[in-house]
Amino acid sequence: MANKKKKLMQGNMACVEGAIYSGMQFFAGYPITPSTEIAEGCSRELPKIGGRFIQMEDEIGSIAAVIGASIAGMKSFTATSGPGYSLMQENLGYAFITETPLVVINVQRGGPSTGLPTKVSQSDTMQARWGPHGDYAAIAVAPSTVQECHTETVRAFNLSERFRTPVTILLDEVIGHSRGVISLPEKGELEVYNRVKPTASPEEVLPFEMTPNLVSPMAGYGEGYRFHVTGLTHDVHGFSTNRSDEIFPKLDKLHNKILNYRDEISKLRIENMDDAEVAFISYGSVSRAALQATAIAREAGVKVGCIQLYTIWPFPEKELRQICANCSKVIVGELNMGQIIHEIERVLPGDIEIHAKQRYDGEIMTPMQLLEKLEEVL
């Protein structure tokens, strides 16, 4: 007897399901391969639940509409790929400084520029951290299966609402387009976080007030609270400031509201690390090859383990140092010319050898490539 909640679906569609599960009500986007199915799915599903789908003139307008909808109180998101993600960066910076919760899904393809529309890549890892100019802390997560596309989308919405910040979900073409069996969770099975709204009267509320956890309660436009939203660095009232004693706290707030809780944001999968001498470190689709390579090499008697990063930013540095403490070598697998490896070089102690296996021809990393690298470094 088939389980009714089980479905075969693409990773992209699992993201749509995850967003709807989170209570998302608004999508604005400009379809682009390999993320198009997310826009298609939203255009099909949102009208059924009273939500809004809008296809915008471009990605700049898309992220602007998402920011506006979120400030009006709706959980909102967009989906794009590299070229569109580049276009969104300026307004993403606006979302960071205005502390607007939203989710951006970047189904990565090869670049730079128009690059490789139908091919896989992980070359936007650093852009997810440093895309907009200026100082801010960023959150980015990376699923690797269809089921994880659902859970990580729910987690991304939760993090975004809890910390009043944009969150990027880094997919790649393989994860977005592969189909797998997913068990859709019932209501209540996964936690759904809703943003904290002010309880005091409109006259008393400071829209960017310094609270103990540094996240200010957020009213929706139209709910009776008047507040000013600006991309200029602003004070607790939301009005622009040039005063050191207001600039420091604002930028510290953008950082510390996230970094003070990095233990709760970090998420990793750890396999076969108890006695591992060598560890694969990877994320996204490369993790699937790394898990496979680990299983195959273990069968052949190699003491190798596997670490998968679900949270890319903030970089889970404390966790990695602990997990790798007894390793002599790590192999960092990425579908780019070397991005997260710089973080790993920064955080691991100098006596651990760090090796890279990089692929950037638009094809998926294979278990065999990782196994060959493993044999080479042993």
């Binding site: 088939a2 389980n3 089980k6 479905k7 075969l8 529309p117 139908t118 299966t145 269809v146 393989v174 387009h177 592969s178 189909r179 797998g180 069996v181 689709s285 699937r288 090859a289 898990l291 496979q292 299983a295 195959i296 090499a297 069968e299 052949a300 008697g301 190699v302 998926i364 294979t366 278990p367 065999m368 196994l371 060959e372 044999e375 042993l378």
Partner: protein
Amino acid sequence: MGYKFIDRIKVPEDRFELRLSGSGGQGMIFAAVVLGEAIGLAEGKNVVQSQSYGPEARGGASKADVVISANEIFYPKAMKLDMLLAMTQEALDSYLKDLKEDGVLIVDTSLVTDIPVDNYYGLDFTHLAKNEVGHIMVANVVALGAISCFTGIVGKEVLTNAVLKRAPRGTEDKNRKAIDVGFEEASKLKK
């Protein structure tokens, strides 16, 4: 330095990997999705289905993989095929090397003429679809019927239900017939 192990590694035995390959427009991805649904939902196994394609909508090489396992599927793409369906010569030439030595090779003999191995199943899917079912479009579904018979990876009834769930309304009879024809023709050849 110098610990060698690659000559000792084994292809994971808990995976059954199949590839449907041909030309864009032949319905290889559709057929793979149907197989994935039949096996993953009705038969309750883990399934990952993926494809690779070029920027063109029709023509050009098209392949779709289905990986099946009772355990968690780590790597989503095929590593060493247990079954290959080649609907064009180009597909056979490209992917034959990925087939296991004892893997099942199925070719469409109306479009594939140069087959460099002896151990294979050849069926004229394109003509069977045209002459026996009445529409060349269902060659992929005829092939699905043959896959069910040759591999036993999915039952004929389950497969038929999965096809009908996806097929456009009004094509039920043709699709049912297509599976029957494929299954029947395959059973005449099955070793």
